[in-house]
Amino acid sequence: MQLIGAPCSVAPDVLESNDFIRAFPERLAYALPADTTVLGPDGAPTVLAQGTLVDSYFVHADWINGVRTRPRNSPAA
């Protein structure tokens, strides 16, 4: 896992790595502008109420894929 700044793009085939999952902060100390449903740590959907102060992070995996359907496994991160 590599912690980076927010990249210009996480569209497919832009920010690629054959070795790392990338994570970056998106918004910090952010008051949710709307109710937001997440999967809670207990495995159940949870609604975070509008106005909740959160930090948001994005985790991204993409690799330099030479063959369209060939998979690549990440190590547990």
Binding site: I4, G5, A6, P7, C8, S9, V10, A11, P12, V14, I21, A23, F24, P25, E26, R27, L28, A29, Y30, L32, P33, A34, T36, T37, V38, L39, G40, P41, T46, L48, T52, L53, V54, D55, S56, Y57, F58, V59, H60, A61, D62, W63, N65, R68, T69, R70, P71, R72, N73, S74, P75, A76, A77
Partner: protein, 230 residues
């Protein structure tokens, strides 16, 4: 940890809401995790760790992780705190409503002495080796015409003492390489810093709050804030 968003539709729906303002996100319908591809996600360490095992095909595997906000920073509504963007060059990271603030280096041992202005406005030197956090405040807007002014006003408070700020272009340019975020392109514009005739800043709250009142024209206004690390 409050939770994660790992399904493609939910990611697509929350990219505009929670995404980094300067990042282009995928519009693919398979950006999330796929159970059929043996992608797995679990929590451990009292819900503070997310464990991932991903099998990535030709698209991406993405997850959004939402935590309670860290108490390290609080701010006025006119300030947005974001991840370090890919660029703060003029006309690349614009907002008509917000000063953007982002962390650059955290728990960073200064590789050399750094000169700042402290809460009393006095120039002081932070010694090489001091462990600091560095933040960058940035204002740029969709300016319709050359030299049209727009006022930005806001404040940001830190849990750690503010050691000082760097607000002039010379000081900013001299410290971009040392204190800047590694993936961020910085301006080389001679007007990137604050101009004393129309931009101001002050400290309050025992030196832990920085108040900004900036008039932004066709260039950007920017300031580096240095705090003690935890």
């Amino acid at each position: 940890m409050l939770g994660v968003i790992k399904d493609s539709n939910a990611l697509l729906n929350t990219n505009p809401l929670l995404g980094a303002p300067s990042t282009t996100y995928s519009t693919a319908s398979d950006q999330g995790l796929e159970t059929w591809a043996d992608d797995s996600l679990s929590f451990s360490d009292a819900r503070q760790t997310v464990n991932l095992q991903l099998t990535v095909y030709n698209s991406t595997d993405d997850v959004r992780v939402i935590t309670k906000a860290s108490p390290a920073i609080t701010h006025s509504d006119s300030v947005e705190v974001v991840g370090s963007p890919c660029s703060v060059v003029e006309n690349t990271f614009e907002s008509d409503d917000h000063i953007r603030l982002f962390p650059e280096r955290q728990s960073y041992a200064l590789p050399e002495d750094v000169t700042v202005r402290d809460a009393s406005g006095v120039t002081k030197v932070i010694a090489k080796g001091t462990i600091v956090n560095s933040y960058y405040a940035h204002a740029d807007w969709h300016n319709p015409g050359q030299n049209t002014p727009k006022l930005f006003e806001g404040n940001v408070s830190f849990a750690q003492p503010v050691l000082g700020v760097i607000a002039n272009t010379t000081g900013l340019e001299a410290t971009h390489a040392m204190l800047g975020a590694p993936g961020t392109a910085y301006s080389t514009n001679q007007y990137q810093g604050l101009e004393s005739y129309e931009d101001s800043y002050s400290f309050s709250n025992n030196g832990q709050t920085v108040n900004m009142k900036w008039t932004v024209r066709d260039a950007v206004d920017q300031m580096r804030i240095i705090t003690l690390a935890q």
